[in-house]
Amino acid sequence: MLKAGDFAVLAAGTAAVAALAWWAWLAPSALADTALVRAAGKVVHSVPLNRAQILVVSGPLGPTRIEIAPGRARVQADPSPRQLCVRQGWLVRAGDAALCLPNQVSLELRGRQSPYDTLGY
């Protein structure tokens, strides 16, 4: 029932689905490669997401610990009362940001193409 050309069409269709899935969901432009850490609005660290490290940034309430891992980053500990930025967990995509507001520390991920021109907090 299936002829050689049919298999070619099915293979092309499968390839098209895979390419679309990669393009829409997994393309590297959507993934982050750099973490920007700001304190009181100024960039204090700009580190690539290629090796694990802990950054400690001090704010008005005390130190904020930021954990960098290959391809992702999170706020590990923060003295802010509601712990919103800690509970956000791991950030993976370019444009993701965690703000520790009373402590004036922010973590933002950047990719090859930034999805936003600028972000104001």
């Binding site: 029932m1 299936l2 002829k3 050689a4 050309g5 049919d6 069409v9 099915l10 269709g13 499968t14 098209a16 689905v17 679309l20 899935a21 829409a24 969901w25």
Partner: protein, 194 residues
């Protein structure tokens, strides 16, 4: 009172040819599948098996592209009326999909039949169908970014259902010629070649 010979006859006579009856019968088959499919719940709006496309494909292979366009157009129009969504957004999405898939079939039917069977035509038509629908939806109804994230899901559905419909059409095609009833039965004579 004698009828004025200059007046137009009061009864409008529609000349129904055997070809018209044939197209109407095939469109009714496609319409039946559309209605049956409309009651099947779908987890994602827009993802449907598109069973009526089996009929469109069979008509294309048996009677040519013009007949397939008639059946597909009648199916979309009558489906819109019967489902109560004539000229609603869903109707236009359906029409856009049908137009795109007919356009793709117009090109794809020239593929050498020795290597490309109904499954190829069905998969190509299914991809064109979803592309036409999404193009209209992106231009008119939804932000393009929202559709973009769903593209792989729609494309995968087109691949799966296109293949299934194509296999069904390939299996039904040999029976279609055999099943044509006797030509003396007025309602269901065999369709003339268009």
């Amino acid at each position: 009172m004698a009828a004025n010979p200059l007046m137009t006859p009061s009864a409008i006579e529609l000349h129904v040819t055997a070809e018209d009856r044939c197209m109407a019968r095939l469109a009714a088959l496609a319409l039946g599948l559309t209605l049956a499919e409309a009651v099947i719940p779908s987890p994602i709006p827009g993802v449907k098996p598109g069973l009526a496309n089996i009929i469109v494909l069979l008509v294309l292979l048996q009677y040519g592209w013009r007949a397939a366009a008639w059946v597909s157009g009648l199916r979309v129009l009558a489906g819109g009326i019967l489902l109560g969504m004539l000229f609603a957004p869903g109707f236009w999405l359906s029409a856009a999909g049908a137009c795109a898939s007919l356009a793709a079939l117009a090109a794809a039917r020239h593929l050498p039949a020795r290597h490309f069977g109904p499954v190829s035509l069905s998969v190509i038509a299914a991809f064109a169908h979803i592309a036409g629908q999404l193009a209209l939806a992106a231009a008119w109804l939804l932000p393009a970014a929202a559709i973009f994230k769903m593209l792989p899901v729609f494309a995968a559905a087109a691949l799966v259902f296109g293949t299934v419909n194509g296999v069904a059409a390939a299996r039904l095609l040999p029976r279609m010629a055999l099943a044509a009833p006797a030509p003396d039965r007025r309602q269901s004579g065999p369709c003339p070649t268009l």
